[in-house]
């Protein structure tokens, strides 16, 4: 029983109510960091870390937090975990920290985190909040990677460009689609992805909304 409930929480947050293609949240960072897979992976790790930690913290404090200041408390908690993540990036992966620039700090304003804290963690126990935060973060990550991988391959011909993990997939003779690593490429990819996924879920009857 408990297992199927956990599974349902996970599946709802990960896919049925996916933050990006269903709720259209977190679009700013979705568009901005997906021109390189490595930036996307780090952003994803940051978001998963923050949704999990803020969900757990908000849930832990839910019975002692005065309702009238709960939003302020949630912002404080989210900001603290994001700053902590930023400090870690600066210390241990400075090049990625530099590449992501303002976007790490802007995780604080990502609607997904605040949305899950207010809609779920503030009224649920710690473990379900952890699962909800993890699934929302992973749902966001899945879509970002689905956008970033074709963008980097078509735009640069590589995966994990400028890192020790770099893989060159397309030959030098391939004319790079520069537009894919520019802002319009992100809009095209996101729109195509939303269209395909929502069309598919409607057809298979998964769309219950």
């Amino acid at each position: 029983m408990a297992r199927s409930k956990t599974k349902k929480i996970f599946w709802n947050a990960f896919w049925v109510d996916n933050p990006v293609f269903r709720q259209i949240l977190g679009i700013c960072s979705t568009l901005a960091v997906t021109n390189l897979v490595i930036n996307t992976v780090i952003m994803d790790i940051g978001l998963v870390f923050t949704t999990v930690m803020s969900g757990v913290t908000v849930s832990l404090l839910r019975n002692v937090t005065p309702r009238r200041i709960r939003m302020m408390v949630q912002v404080l908690i989210i900001a603290a975990w994001v700053i902590l993540f930023d400090l870690m990036l600066k210390a241990y992966v400075p090049d990625i920290s530099k590449a992501l620039g303002a976007y790490v700090g802007l995780i604080i304003t990502n609607c997904i985190i605040m949305g899950r804290a207010e809609a779920f963690a503030s009224s649920n126990k710690v473990f379900p909040s952890l699962i909800d935060g993890l699934a929302s973060g992973l749902g966001y990550s899945l879509i970002l990677l689905a956008i970033a991988i074709p963008r980097e391959i078509l735009g640069f011909g590589t995966l994990f460009k400028d890192t020790a993990l770099q893989i060159t997939l397309l030959p030098e003779s391939f004319t790079k689609w520069i537009i894919m690593v520019m802002a319009p490429g992100a809009f095209f990819m996101l729109a195509i992805l939303i269209w395909v996924i929502r069309g598919w879920t409607e057809r298979t009857g998964e769309d219950k909304h």
Binding site: P66, A91, A99
Partner: protein
């Protein structure tokens, strides 16, 4: 009314939670401070190596390789306030007022290969800092690297991309005193030696910001060029062709 429903509780609660998180973050900052300082030193070395194009930097390049390349070819210089600007090649003590930083790159024969100086100004989201290398003629840009900025990834942050930075190479100041570089719509700079393409979608970064500070910084560098030429002569290094720069204030 119970205490937990009072305003005083809300205030105390917020204060306590803020103090708790502030303490946690301060602790992490102290613990990582040494690592961050080390990263900054490595980044500074990388920037100098990149601006002078001394070697190719890969993810495997070590700090020792960078230091070796810099020791062999680059001489750091300072312009200090000594009742007027004075160029020194030994690191000044902490009481000295440093007016400007310069780096001189020498080729294998010991001839000046390029000079580099810091540049900086206002971007869209905040200040942008970088280094510019110029040829020994003092007018032609050899290279440019950005060391710090907060521009939007995918938009203004594209100033860091190799293909955009390459557009600055070979560009010349039309007038050393005021530089007169122009930032023009993307794809229109052609062979104009004084024009650099903007980035479409990043007008605030590349036109409003960079267009101004490129000229301001170049003009500032040119005020100190005569001191550098004097230094080269004193050191017996082959001096580059002097340009039409004026001497800095108070200097012959």
């Amino acid at each position: 009314m119970s205490f937990t429903k009072s305003r005083a509780y809300s205030v105390l609660y917020m204060f306590a939670l803020s103090a708790l998180f502030a303490g946690l973050l301060s602790l992490v900052k102290v613990v990582t401070a040494e690592q961050v300082a080390d990263n900054e030193r490595t980044a500074a070395s990388k920037n100098l190596v990149r601006v002078f194009e001394l070697m190719e930097i890969t993810p495997q390049t070590t700090g020792a390789q960078l230091a070796d390349a810099l020791t062999k070819s680059v001489r750091p210089l300072w312009i200090v306030d000594n009742g007027g600007p004075k160029l020194v090649d030994a690191e000044p003590d902490k009481t000295a007022t440093v007016l400007y930083r310069l780096w001189l790159a020498l080729d294998d024969a010991g001839r000046p290969r390029a000079f580099a100086f810091p540049i900086g100004g206002k971007g869209f989201w905040g200040p942008i800092f970088g280094l510019m290398a110029v040829a020994p003629d003092g007018l032609t840009i050899r290279n440019i690297v950005w060391t710090r900025h907060g521009e939007t990834p995918g938009l203004g942050a594209r100033i860091e991309e190799d293909q955009y930075r390459a557009k600055f190479k070979g560009k010349q100041a039309a007038d050393p005193a005021v530089a007169r570089f122009r930032v023009v719509p993307e794809g229109t700079m052609g062979d104009d030696p004084h024009a650099v393409d903007q980035i479409t979608g990043a007008t605030q970064t590349t036109v409003v910001g960079m267009g101004k500070f490129l000229n301001d910084n170049f003009a500032q560098w040119h005020r100190y060029l005569p001191l550098l030429l004097d230094y080269l002569r004193q050191q017996g290094l082959t001096a580059p062709q002097p340009s039409t720069a004026e001497a800095p204030d108070g200097q012959e």
